[in-house]
Symmetry: C2
Subunit: 123 residues, 2 copies
Amino acid sequence: MLHRPDAFNARCPTRQVLDRIGDKWAVLVLILLEQETLRFNELRRRIDSISQKMLSQTLKSLERDGLISRRAFATVPVTVEYSLTPLGRTLAGTVAALTQWAEAHIGEVEEAQRRYDRGEIAA
Amino acid sequence: MLHRPDAFNARCPTRQVLDRIGDKWAVLVLILLEQETLRFNELRRRIDSISQKMLSQTLKSLERDGLISRRAFATVPVTVEYSLTPLGRTLAGTVAALTQWAEAHIGEVEEAQRRYDRGEIAA
DNA sequence: GGATGTTGGTTCCCAATAGATACTAGGGAT
DNA sequence: ATCCCTAGTATCTATTGGGAACCAACATCC
């Protein structure tokens, strides 16, 4: 029935990509870098409530996946710039569609949550 | 600079939606239900390696958000059907674009990972 | 001249979450 | 009687996330 790579099979590598997208911090980093190259602490300041650890970890994963590139300059203190690769740029476009959906439909989602919490399980 | 709801602010509800999309199981459920209405154990069998607990939890969240609807029938044993709501259907379309990206670019991602793991931090 | 702040991280610890396993109820089939 | 089916829940543990402290090397403040 499924003629394409089966993302529902845990062994399928497509699932790995899906798992990466399923990282909220990665999504936010991609969206920010789509607009401009940023340094580590600039990213940290812009993404409210992200910890250094998670930012560092997220950037490392994205770099490993070839989605962003890291450039360090031997200034004092050291300067590190992160930017999207061409591959990352194609993903950022797709991810932007998700944030647009979120912004467009957040009202409906919140209303559904209120209805659900009041006990109305209506469709 | 940002004229739209600020997803980078933790207090912005848009971020909640982003967090929901950032759930790998939710994404897989949405994709499956886009094609047909399915029962609990059918979903469980199709999504390789999901546990009963996580499926149950994921379905409950999606229902609360108004993205899927649950219908129980008093058969023996009880039958429970899950299907997309109109709202969920609009999201499933957007999410499908992500899986298409994953399937199209998985090769590039894997090659980047191999390069990174060999120590070539090249852009 | 010592305290503090900057850079981009890493390490440690604890709380929260994910996942595996077992259990429930109310039957049906063997 | 015993095992299986349904759709979950309860419990326990493994993994992960987040907070805070620490690092080097310098610049500035007082």
